[in-house]
């Protein structure tokens, strides 16, 4: 059966949107700093007219936020599908942390752009906060779940603990990505040990 005109419109819309988000992703992956990204450059990369860009997005921030949402969806889905249901102890935590790390690494040019944008743009600053907080809630639930199952590393308030752990992981991850100083394996190890001791107590 042929698509109705309406669904054709939706398909067309999502196709163009995908081209635009893909174009920004490609610019960022290619090393263009966020400060140098323009709507013209995105439209050129997407092979569309500048006017068409504005039919789909109000500005370049909206495209970056769309990419940030993809990161949140991928990560939170991963956390909820595995982390929150797996109760195999520290070993499953390790696997999930590695998966979390790999997802973040895959999005590292987007993360860098968001971080850079957040320092100069109030809208992106607010979004950056949302991004961190999106991981806090599932982590808080995980902590409470572990405590109900008898695991208790510290008796700190679960929400505060989740916040500290997420912020630490975010910072360690970004430092590793930015500096390339310590190898990511060492960092993952240290961060994992920290999570394990704080959540499981041993």
């Amino acid at each position: 059966m042929a698509d109705s005109p309406n669904s054709e419109g939706i398909t067309k819309r999502s196709e163009v949107e995908l081209k635009i988000t893909g174009a920004l992703r490609s610019l960022l992956d290619g090393g263009t700093p966020w400060g140098s990204v323009t709507v013209d450059a995105i439209a050129h990369e997407a092979d569309i007219k500048r006017t068409l860009f504005y039919v789909y997005f109000p500005d370049r921030n909206a495209v970056l936020i769309r990419l940030g949402n993809q990161l949140i969806e991928t990560t939170v889905q991963g956390i909820e599908a595995h982390w929150l249901v797996a109760a195999d102890g520290p070993d499953s935590l390790r696997k999930e942390m590695e998966a979390f790390w790999r997802t973040q690494e895959g999005f590292s040019p987007v993360l860098r752009a968001l971080m850079e944008g957040a320092t100069v743009d109030p809208e992106l600053k607010e979004y950056w906060k949302t991004l961190s907080r999106a991981f806090v809630e599932p982590t808080r639930r995980r902590i409470e779940q572990l405590r109900e199952a008898g695991h208790q590393g510290t008796d700190a308030d679960p929400e505060m603990l989740a916040l500290c752990l997420i912020l630490m992981t975010e910072k360690v991850l970004l430092e590793g990505l930015q500096l390339g100083g310590s190898s990511n394996d060492e960092l993952v190890n240290a961060a994992f040990e920290l999570w394990k001791l704080v959540l499981y107590g041993s």
Partner: protein, 208 residues
């Protein structure tokens, strides 16, 4: 006669140095005033600084090459205040209460220089020199923290645990990040975050 000229020339040099110091001070204080007044780093311009310092643009460039150089001069104050916290770490014992005290001191410095640290952090994404400076501040804590953890373990006050340097790395970055977030995003309660960070330090180092 020769002595007289030497004397006069020293007087002139002294006056010139004093003048130089005075102008530099005015420029640095002008930037401080703009930042403390809530101006975001991206909005700070040389024109704003010279206007605040009541000097010309030409004079500004005699003393500083750009606005980041002035910011780094101010940043040295934060660096020194933070350095004060670690100055006796190699000759003293750590312990749970000392960790709490030092975390408190660390956050107090962050709080006292809140506007300045925000400007420094914002500038890290725009200027490599500031980024290097900002990273070095955190690094200054990692080596002494590592030594302290190793000393606690060697003297039997703390059990063996994860690699001391990597652990110090995580703990310092966590403390910096949570203090900064609590201060600037005004989200969670500052003291509650400090309490939690303290508990994490104790768990990771002493297992308690």
């Amino acid at each position: 006669m020769g002595l007289y000229f030497t004397f006069m020339s020293n007087v002139k040099l002294g006056k010139r140095a004093a003048h130089r110091e005075d102008v530099e001070h005015r420029i640095v204080e002008a930037l401080r005033s703009l930042i403390d007044g809530g101006m975001l780093w991206r909005d700070v311009t040389i024109a704003e600084i010279t206007n605040e310092a009541q000097i010309t643009r030409t004079v500004f460039y005699i003393y500083f090459k750009d606005k980041s150089s002035v910011l780094l001069r101010l940043g040295a104050e934060v660096k020194e205040a933070l350095h004060e916290i670690t100055h006796d770490w190699d000759t003293s014992t750590m312990g749970p209460d000392v960790i709490r005290r030092d975390l408190q001191r660390y956050t107090e410095v962050q709080r006292k220089h809140a506007d300045l640290t925000r400007a420094l952090r914002d500038a890290t994404h725009l200027t490599p020199e500031v980024q290097k400076f900002w990273k070095a501040i955190a690094r200054d804590f990692i080596a002494p923290t590592t030594r302290r953890i190793l000393k606690e373990r060697a003297e039997g006050r703390a059990p063996d645990g994860p690699d001391a340097q990597m652990l110090a790395y995580c703990l310092i970055l966590m403390s910096e990040k949570v203090a900064f977030e609590a201060l600037h995003y005004r989200g969670p309660d500052f003291d509650a975050v400090l309490d939690t960070a303290h508990q994490i330090w104790l768990k990771m180092i002493y297992g308690i």
